[in-house]
């Protein structure tokens, strides 16, 4: 039951995502538009859920439309908010 759901969700996400999927043969730089599923955590700073979990844990990346961000993978933290420390991640 889970696999069809994931597949369906993936299709929906792909359908809704910006036209930035060039495929490996023609990669392109990501856009500066805020992804629709992004979670805003500060002024012009978002957490964007990744398509795939990292080592089984739902994961996020930081995003900003005007600034550079660090390139750590984030998780939901037990204490609330986000953390890049896997030890403090909520992975359920």
């Amino acid at each position: 039951m889970i696999r069809p759901f994931v597949l369906l969700a993936s299709c929906l996400l792909l359908a809704c995502s910006p036209n930035t999927e060039p495929g490996p043969s023609k990669p392109a730089a990501p856009t500066r538009e805020v992804p629709p599923n992004a979670v805003k955590i500060a002024d012009d700073l978002y957490m964007v859920p990744l398509d795939q979990p990292v080592e089984g844990c739902p994961a996020y990346r930081q995003f900003s439309t005007t600034k550079m961000v660090n390139q750590a993978i984030y998780y939901r933290a037990r204490q609330g908010g986000f953390t890049f420390d896997r030890n403090e991640a909520v992975c359920d």
């Binding site: 043969s25 990501p30 994961a59 900003s64 550079m68 390139q71 750590a72 420390d85 896997r86």
Partner: protein
């Protein structure tokens, strides 16, 4: 016709070949570290260090000491015990010009991957003794503006950074300020390592990593993607893309254990944590090889990376996975510098050899000085190497060639007029060569013309001979053993006529002149264009022999041997001096004396002086090269049967008794491009003295059918004092028709 030979031989001894200088390849000049000092629990706690083979670099003694890595990030926790000792006092918050406190934790984690200290606590960084120049460029939300990053880069360059780590990025090209800061940093020779980004495998690197392929960066900006612990592409990692592939690496970026703000460890993922592995690696290389330019260091990491994905450089994996083992090893052509300048002449290591002839035995084998040499790799990095491994000794083995030389060769004596002689050698052997499939195929088959000898009696007392493609020993008048020992002993020439084996078959002539009934004067000259350099040259010989009326004889001889590319059958090549040639003078005294009915005592002693004209290589100024050989034996006839022969021979094959040369080795290089050379006068005499003991018996079974057998023992074979004795036995059955 010599028809059949049956032989057995069992060599003994431990060598005679020069011992190699130990295993392993070339090693960097730094003193090696014991594995126990770096393969610690702290090391293995962070699997990524093992994944990039960091222990192989640590074994060379490098730790990043003296190299400054700027971490442009969210600051560093300066109180973390794994970091505190490595943080530069020049560290700064570029926004506030105040402390570098890290309220985000990202910078602390990145810095730990670069240079967390090795203190038996938690884990340590790749370059655990590098200096961390923390430049906080983040605002309160943990994000970075182009101008702040640009200012941080400029500050890092101005404060001595060798490497700048940028575990940050954004989707848009940098502002002119940021671009100029990056260009200026690269122009200043600072390596910039940037995270590729976490947008996923469908995307190329974010900025500033996307500048990796920009020619304005001079090849000093690297984009770094992430792999997991099994070297699989991390699902979140941006790939290299076509434009950046040549300057794109991968490093561990999934579940990397590193330092956490406030103390302790965190387990973090992202290309943020892949990039500092590469920054640390650059620091290790720059310490290990201070002569490297930053561009060379980068090229080494790129060329030594483990290929991932499609073969070669590809859009996804670029150059592949960081590999510190391969990066520490020599790359490119290995060469031996032969002058005092790095940019001076060099010779390829693989061509740099000395193959010492048997007379030198194990000389140079234990020479410790040879292990002080260095070579340069393709990046002019110096590596210590034991050049003793390139000294090959020649063991005087139980050679069968003297017995087998005529196998398949037919000698035809052509009837001629009185006073003339003509012999033609016809080769009946079958020759094989390897075909395209590597299989042997017949290349030629006899009969084929092999050699020719001709003689003419000019007067009753004068005889002239000509030889075509005959060895010196086959050339008339070249041989004398004081008695008829022809074909009796197995290896008699080594002791009794040592000069005859120095050159190969050739063309020449001989002249014998009788002076009265009892005295002979002989001259021999032979020149060979042998394809084997060690046996190419010429020999000229003069001998005076007197046969006593009461039996026995005495002979005095002098021979001059010129070796075109060798010295006493030894060959130097490459940096040791290609083109070495020599001239030797052999002085011999031999004779025989009857000591009973049908029993002769035979003896011979030869002394030789050799002048070596070195090829201008590392081994030169040869002096005092003296060698000698001797043999003493007894031959009895009609012992057990009519016309049989029984002989005993004890002899020393040619041995170098004294020889000195100057060995000049490159032993180091400095940062000004100079090669430091050292010279040492080396002794080239062997450690031992080979004595060959032979017992031979030859018996005619029937007319035209001979049987010969030998027993032989070699003491200290190969003039190697440590060699075990060798034993041999031989049996030959010959049918003549």
């Amino acid at each position: 016709m010599l028809f059949a030979v049956a032989l057995t031989g069992c060599g003994g001894g431990s060598g005679g070949g020069v011992a190699s200088g130990g295993g392993g390849g070339p090693a960097p000049l730094a003193p090696p570290a014991a594995p126990a000092s770096f393969e610690t629990a702290e090391f293995f706690l962070n699997g990524s260090l093992d994944q990039i083979n960091a222990q192989e670099a640590y074994a060379t003694g490098t730790s990043g000491q003296g190299v400054t890595v700027a971490v442009v990030d969210t600051g560093i926790d300066p109180t973390h015990p794994d970091l505190a000792g490595n943080i530069s006092p020049a560290s700064v918050n570029i926004l506030t010009n105040s402390t570098i406190d890290d309220d985000d934790g990202h910078g602390t984690a990145v810095a730990g991957v670069v240079a967390a200290r090795k203190n038996d606590t938690n884990t340590h960084g790749v370059a655990f003794n590098a200096t961390l120049l923390a430049v906080r460029a983040s605002n309160i939300t943990g994000t970075f503006t182009d101008s702040d990053v640009a200012n941080a880069i400029t500050y890092a360059v101005q404060n001595g950074a060798d490497v700048i780590n940028l575990s940050l990025g954004g989707p848009a090209a940098g502002t002119p300020n940021l671009e100029q800061a990056l260009i200026s940093a690269a122009a200043a020779g600072v390596v910039i390592v940037a995270a590729s980004g976490n947008d996923g495998n469908a995307f190329t690197p974010l900025f500033p990593a996307a500048y990796a392929g920009d020619v304005r960066m001079g090849g000093l900006l690297l984009a770094v993607g992430a792999v997991d612990g099994a070297n699989n592409l991390a699902g979140f990692s941006n790939i290299c893309g076509n434009a950046n592939a040549n300057f794109c690496l991968y490093a561990p970026g999934v579940n990397v254990r590193t330092t956490g703000a406030g103390g302790g460890n965190v387990i973090a993922s992202g290309t943020s944590f892949a990039a500092p592995h590469v920054s640390g690696a650059v620091a290790l290389l720059l310490q290990l090889f201070p002569s490297l330019t930053p561009a060379q260091a980068v090229q080494i990491l790129l060329t030594s990376a483990t290929d991932l994905g499609a073969a070669g450089v590809d859009n996804t994996f670029g150059r592949g996975l960081l590999d510190l083992d391969a990066a520490s090893e020599p790359l490119g052509t290995l060469s031996v510098p032969t002058s005092d300048a790095v940019a001076g002449p060099t010779m390829a290591l693989e061509q740099t050899t000395i193959r010492l002839g048997a007379a030198f035995g194990d000389a140079l084998g234990g020479n410790a000085f040879l292990s002080d040499a260095i070579i340069l790799d393709g990046f002019e990095r110096p590596y210590k190497i034991d050049l003793g491994r390139n000294v090959k000794g020649a063991k005087r083995d139980f050679r069968l060639d003297s017995l087998l030389a005529h196998r398949g060769t037919e000698t035809i004596d052509v009837p001629t007029a009185d006073g003339l002689s003509l012999s033609i050698g016809v080769d009946h052997r079958t020759y094989y060569r390897s075909n395209a499939a590597g299989l042997a195929e017949q290349a030629a088959q006899g009969p084929a013309f092999e050699n020719l000898s001709a003689g003419a009696a000019l007067t009753d007392s004068t005889r002239l001979g000509f030889a075509y493609n005959l060895s010196p020993g086959q050339t008339a008048a070249a041989r004398h053993e004081g008695s008829d020992t022809t074909g009796l002993f197995w290896m008699s020439d080594d002791s009794l006529n040592p000069h005859l084996s120095l050159i190969g078959a050739g063309n020449g002539m001989s002249l014998q002149q009788r002076v009265g009934d009892e005295t002979r004067l002989s001259f021999t000259w032979l020149d060979t264009a042998d394809s084997d350099r060690t046996t190419r040259g010429s020999v000229g010989q003069a001998a005076l022999q007197h046969d006593f009326a009461a039996g026995g004889s005495l002979r005095v001889g002098i021979a001059s041997v010129h070796e075109d590319g060798a010295f006493l059958n030894s060959e130097a090549d490459g940096a040791f001096g290609a083109g070495t040639e020599s001239d030797s003078r052999f002085y011999s005294l031999s004779g025989s004396m009857p000591v009973g009915d049908g029993i002769d005592l035979i003896g011979s002693v030869t002394v030789a002086n050799t002048t070596v004209d070195d090829g201008g290589g590392l081994l030169k100024n040869w002096d005092n090269v003296w060698s000698g050989a001797f043999g003493l034996g007894v031959v009895a006839q009609d012992v057990f049967a009519p016309q049989d022969r029984l002989g005993f021979l004890a002899g020393q094959p040619l041995r170098v008794e004294s020889a000195e040369a100057t060995l000049t080795l490159p032993v180091s290089r400095d940062l000004d491009g100079n090669i430091i050379q050292q010279s040492e006068r080396v002794d080239l005499t062997p450690s031992g003295r080979e004595i060959d003991l032979q017992i031979a018996y030859q018996h005619q079974l029937a007319p035209g059918i001979d049987v010969s057998s030998w027993l032989m023992m070699q003491l200290q074979p190969g003039h190697d004092a440590d060699a075990e004795p060798g034993y041999g036995a031989g049996f030959k059955f010959r049918v003549t028709y």
